[in-house]
Amino acid sequence: MDFSRRETFGLGLGALALMALPVGASASTIEEMIAEFTGGADMADTGVTLTAPEIAENGNTVPIAVSAEGASSILVLATGNPTPSVGTFTFGPLAGARSASTRIRLAKTQELVAIAKLEDGTFARTSAEVKVTIGGCGG
């Protein structure tokens, strides 16, 4: 039979290949990226909302949304991706809603982090775990 394992288990193999990356390598990078954004300031646990599915339906295009009242910018990081930076959404003073949504690619199960810089100069942080799975075998 001629269908390849790659076709059959593409998603799972993607997850596997990326799991081989050294975990420690990106961890310090993420801290550095956060420090660069906040300038090392403390971050509140509330004040920013990150909406993401618990389990991704398709790791290649995962819908996420962030919002924070009074935010001037929101940084989003996918901590388990080879390139963790997703982007920074910037809101001008005339922006009615300080919210944004997009779709991102996730290499494997990981934590997403969103940090909002508020107009008063303070920061708020939240995170969400998104699982990327091979699937199958439903009840």
């Binding site: 949504s101 699982k131 799975t133 699937g135 199958g136 075998c137 439903g138 009840g139």
Partner: protein, 566 residues
């Protein structure tokens, strides 16, 4: 002095704990050997609203045997909690005597002897009789179908769900939500849904492209019953495109979306709903977690994980009702709703003992009409079993072992993988195995048996991945199936470990060798969620295997050493 709020909480808690549920009464009647249709139906009508819940029927029109699980491991906060109790622990929890009809209906021990004594369960003609009896007490009772209805049998597969649609329509449901229905393909689902004479609900069914609520499936429906404005909010199975082939319904996106659920609850409350019911296909543990997050739901009618519980479980002020599977149970929930608030609840899980309940003649004829074109195929005897064949449980059942044997021998493979689904009736020792029986444990729209090579490393990834879908301590990361069934490969599973560390000591059974991560093994399996999977349908593979053997035993048991959480 008690505040009104305190009083409400107490009366509701009391209702669920001491069983103003009809359950206490049930146990007494059972102990008195009073066991007939009238005792099954006995219920003192209460309050002003009645809900009737059926779920996870899986295409079973006719009476069947269905053995409940012996292994059902709860993790995290659900360790040792219902529905993760089996056998004696379950009987002790609910005060059920061993060998009683309820023991047969709700647990697994002495299943063969009890099945011979008490007979088959289910059959939608018997369910019809029960629904009619409840409607004679309360003519405006709501009938709510939790989904997994248009799937699971030969006639359902061959008619693309039409047999179930015809029979269910005759039972007159008021609303329904969905899971396996979507494996008929989105076009067929849309065709059926557009013609349904009742509400097709799912607040979490979204348009995949725009990530907005789907236009076809409403989030909720209002009903006026007994002077009470009731909102029924639907919650479809959240992980449809992950647990089932997403390419069959690419237009839809799901997810738990509890924030949207809260919005819907607020919306219906603001519109004057006095009673909020969630018709859910989340699975029990997910419903429990959701009930702790979303406020304002009075009753969750829970489906998907096939649990049958004789009493509601109370989370905050939300009562969760679990009504089993395969047509084996109907839940009746009577509610007292006054001054815009739910003041009390009385509940009974009614087991459908097929030999005791008179079939409704009209529905019986309708069922036979659905089956008539396929009768020759359905009744074709393929072989015989000299063992009890069952599936339900966290790890391989005997049906699964037999299927894995068939995959290994018919497809000449070293290792077999079979999906950990929870549907599939049981076969008693001495019973003929018909083609219908084979379809009952295999029928689906993606049945192809692939034969491929996988490295030892990848096999471990598969086991770890499925294991985490079952044993992740956070219910929101569970998909509600059981562990993938495995043939030709033994392993050890440490439930409490994180993903990637649960599975060890993987052994190829044919040689006794430890699985080598870099070596490739020939694997046969079915129910792949990937498009373009090739191979013969699994029912042909299983029929070929059984017909060669003539009389089958329980198959080769796969050694899985389970390390339980503390």
């Amino acid at each position: 002095m008690l505040s009104r709020r305190d009083f409400l909480q107490m009366s509701m808690a009391a209702a669920s704990i001491t069983g103003a549920s009809g359950f206490g009464n049930w146990a007494r009647l059972a102990a008195q050997d009073k066991f007939d249709q009238s005792s099954l139906l006995d219920f003192e009508t209460f309050g002003n609203v009645t809900l009737m819940h059926v779920t996870d029927i899986h295409g079973q029109l006719k009476p069947i045997y269905f053995r409940e699980p012996s292994v059902n491991i709860g993790v995290g906060e659900n360790r040792g909690e219902v529905p993760h109790l089996t056998g004696e622990a379950f009987r002790t929890r609910y005060g059920i005597g061993g060998g009683t009809p309820l023991d047969y209906a709700l647990t697994y021990e002495d299943f063969v002897a009890q099945a011979q004594a008490y007979g088959k369960v289910g059959g939608l003609d018997r369910v019809a009789t029960v629904l009619n009896a409840i409607r004679s007490d309360r003519p405006d009772a709501l009938l709510l179908d939790g989904g997994d209805t248009w799937h699971g049998s030969m006639t359902c597969l061959k008619t693309e769900g039409q047999d179930m649609v015809n029979v269910m329509n005759a039972l007159k449901p008021d609303a329904m939500t969905f899971h396996w229905e979507f494996t008929l393909g989105s076009k067929r689902v849309e065709e059926i849904v557009k013609g349904l004479p009742f509400a097709a609900l799912g607040q979490n069914i979204f348009d995949a492209e725009w990530d907005e609520p789907s236009e076809l499936f409403k989030p909720y429906e209002f009903f006026e019953r007994g002077g009470v404005k009731i909102a029924v909010i639907g919650q479809a199975f959240p992980y449809m495109p992950i647990a089932n082939p997403g390419w069959m319904f690419p237009e839809y996106s799901f997810g738990i979306r509890d924030e949207h659920m809260q919005e819907m609850v607020n919306e219906v409350r603001a519109a004057g709903a006095e009673l909020v019911v969630c018709l859910s296909h989340n699975g029990f543990d997910v419903d429990k977690k959701m009930a702790g997050i979303v406020t304002g739901i009075d009753v969750i009618l829970s489906g998907h994980t096939h649990d049958a519980l004789p009493e509601p479980v109370l989370v905050g002020q939300t009562h969760i009702i679990a009504s089993g599977s395969n047509g084996k149970f109907v839940s009746r929930v009577d509610l007292d709703v006054r001054d815009g608030k739910m003041m009390g609840l009385r509940h009974k899980l009614i087991p459908i003992f097929s030999d005791l309940i008179t079939p409704d003649p009209e529905i019986a004829a309708l069922i036979d009409a659905q089956r008539a074109p396929f009768l020759e195929d359905l009744t074709h005897v393929v072989g015989k079993s000299d063992a009890l064949l069952y599936r339900r449980g966290n790890f391989n059942g005997t049906w699964d072992d037999l299927i894995c044997d068939a995959l290994l021998s018919e497809r000449d493979a070293q290792i077999a993988l079979s999906p950990g689904v929870r549907w599939g009736p049981s076969i008693l020792p001495g019973q003929d195995i018909t083609r219908e029986d084979i379809f009952n444990v295999t029928s689906m729209t993606y049945p192809n048996v692939y034969r491929t090579e996988m490295t030892g490393e990848f096999l471990k990834v598969v086991l770890e991945d499925v294991g985490d879908n079952l044993f992740n301590p956070d219910p929101y990361y569970q998909q509600g199936g059981d562990m993938v069934r495995v043939g030709g490969l033994g392993f050890k599973m440490d439930i409490a470990k994180p993903q990637g560390e649960r599975v060890s000591e993987m052994t190829l059974l044919s040689t006794g060798e430890v699985i080598d991560p870099s070596h490739s093994y020939v694997v046969a399996g079915w129910a792949s969620v990937n498009e373009g999977t090739e191979g013969p349908p699994v029912w042909d593979v299983l029929e070929s295997h059984i017909s060669k053997l003539g009389t089958v035993g329980q198959g080769t048991a796969t050694p899985v050493e389970v390390v339980l959480p503390e």
